[in-house]
Symmetry: none
Subunit: 204 residues, 4 copies
């Protein structure tokens, strides 16, 4: 086998394991995420998984970085469609909502990674997190300079609040979905829309 083929195989094994891991994470949540389930789903031996990842936590760290990358990509794609800067921010709220409805499990993954015992290098995660923040900061700054966003909003804090509230609200709504349905016929989409209005009005 040539080195190239071998590397390809190696990459596809990693992919295969990651894909299985993501499936398990989605199906069982972070609490139910076990290596046993991952290797069972990937139809490989336990040892094989540990050849490609040195621990369960490493797998989760990789997944979380990938998740953040996908989120950033969604933000960019959504914002690019709008020319108006408050509309861009509104679009970010919706992107966050849609992303996390599709990938709920990533939330708890983040809390899991925040445990003090979590030892894995999360450099990638931090880097992408930074890119995400830069992206939002940029929108706010430009929005301010164009007079679309009020200038007394501190850019950095505003950007973080934007980001935090987007994903925070979504997470909370997701986790309350069951209750919301029992209480009233609340549409999550409608709620996000109200939320986006409040935020955009709050910064205009």
């Amino acid at each position: 086998m040539s080195p190239v083929t071998s590397e390809l195989h190696s990459m596809s094994r990693r992919q295969q394991i990651l894909t299985s891991a993501e499936t398990v994470l989605k199906d069982k949540g972070i609490e139910g995420f076990t290596m046993d389930l991952v290797v069972k789903h990937a139809e490989i031996a336990k040892g094989t998984a540990y050849k490609y990842f040195k621990s369960k936590d490493e797998i989760l760290a990789v997944i979380s970085a990938r998740a953040l990358e996908m989120l950033l990509h969604d933000f960019e794609k959504g914002a690019a469609k709008e020319s108006n800067y408050t509309a861009k921010i509104r679009s970010i709220c919706f992107s966050a909502y849609r992303f996390y409805v599709r990938h709920k499990a990533y939330w708890n993954l983040i809390s899991y990674m925040e445990r003090p015992e979590f030892e894995i290098d999360i450099k990638d995660y931090i880097r992408i997190s930074q890119e995400l923040q830069d992206f939002c900061e940029d929108i706010i700054e430009t929005g301010k300079s164009r007079g679309e966003i009020r200038t007394d909003l501190p850019t950095r804090e505003g950007q973080l609040v934007l980001w935090a509230s987007c994903v925070g609200v979504v997470q909370f709504l997701e986790s309350k979905k069951r209750i919301l349905r029992n209480v009233h016929n609340i549409s999550l989409e409608g709620m996000i829309s109200t939320y986006a209005d409040m935020i955009t009005k709050g910064i205009s």
Copy 2:
């Protein structure tokens, strides 16, 4: 022993177990919450705990309802201090923040309850959740009638967004604390303040 006395005993046993469970949850977090620790703290036998609660998860479900009750109480106390309605809402944001900083374990409790395997009926939780919503709805409605809150804000959705974003933002900030510290010297209090400004401006 009369049925009444017996029922009283029964209730106090339940209380005793719940109090111990809350202590354990606060001390050890959701990860370290075990029935062994609960019965050890309550100074009762393992079997006794299972006479009053059919599973560990039932105990946690009850605790989560009690947590919500405490949160509502904090909301009420904080809002009562303000006469202005947007100020009341601002106060709710801060109450949520302070509550969850003091009782972090409840956050993870919520994620824990979100596991797909979690089977327990959470009727109490739903009921108190409803009270909380009524409380917020009331503030918005009255705020609107007094002209302090813009009338095109849909009450129900607005109220839920308020609630969701308060706790959602806090949770998100909490889970990002490490990264925030690495990136900039961001004070969580300052962020909550910016957030409260955005929300109150967004609804005025």
Copy 3:
């Protein structure tokens, strides 16, 4: 069940586990000593063993202290039979030999416990070890005062060398038994006798 009965039961469970552990240690050696084998031999569940001992290492620590206690007992019994002090020392050499022929596995147990990772409190072990040394020191001191042992022998070092060489020689012989048999018809008893002669002549 009365507390007394319960405590008796509790003790016998501990005993049962320790007895099984000693059997496994003798059969499989320290390298092959696993909790799986212990509980299988004791015909109990894994969790039961961990109710009585907090770790595998704790079991081994207890066993090693018991072993040392038995050794001291053998030393005392053997030495008591002799009135002459060099004969007492000769008897110690033989006691050590016989003890370790019967309980080979304890040797490696000691090395195992000496690993830097070994975290269990070995207070009992150290205490009995001290008693053993006091016992030997006493014999040498009295032997010196009676003119049976040469006075230029430093008591403390002499005592330790005596102890160390007794058990050390036996351990080495044991581990070389296979080779010794293949090379010549060497009787281990004869070797110990020669050894005891050398030691007693060396200190007289």
Copy 4:
């Protein structure tokens, strides 16, 4: 490739593996000795190692024979420096001590080989062990004929006791190091000196 060349290659591959194995053993100890580390250090594939040695245990058996060879070499070099025969024996005691202080991993190797499951033929080990014994026997015999060693000492047993006690005492002292330090300020060098005195006086 001629069979001779091939055999040479074969030999050097074996050597290469053994050298790597010895390095790993010294660096990581018997507990950390893994085939993964050996082949990584040797920069060969896993399968290759298994072409030249049928198991990990075979490698360790060969290493133990080589260790014995080094020990014999040390004995010879040390004894050659002395003309007096009791001094030669004293020198052997010290050589043994120094060897095992420098190469502690070999001790545990010996216990490892003593596991009941250890199945490998140790012919080489036995052969070198024999050479070592012949060397010591020779010293005692010549010492006796020169009147430096008492003639009632049985040569073969005496020689084995000498050898066994040297390494046995060292091993015992090593394993008790921690306790010795806790009890008194005992220097290992001082103890070996006392021991050597006892032995040489015991045979003179």
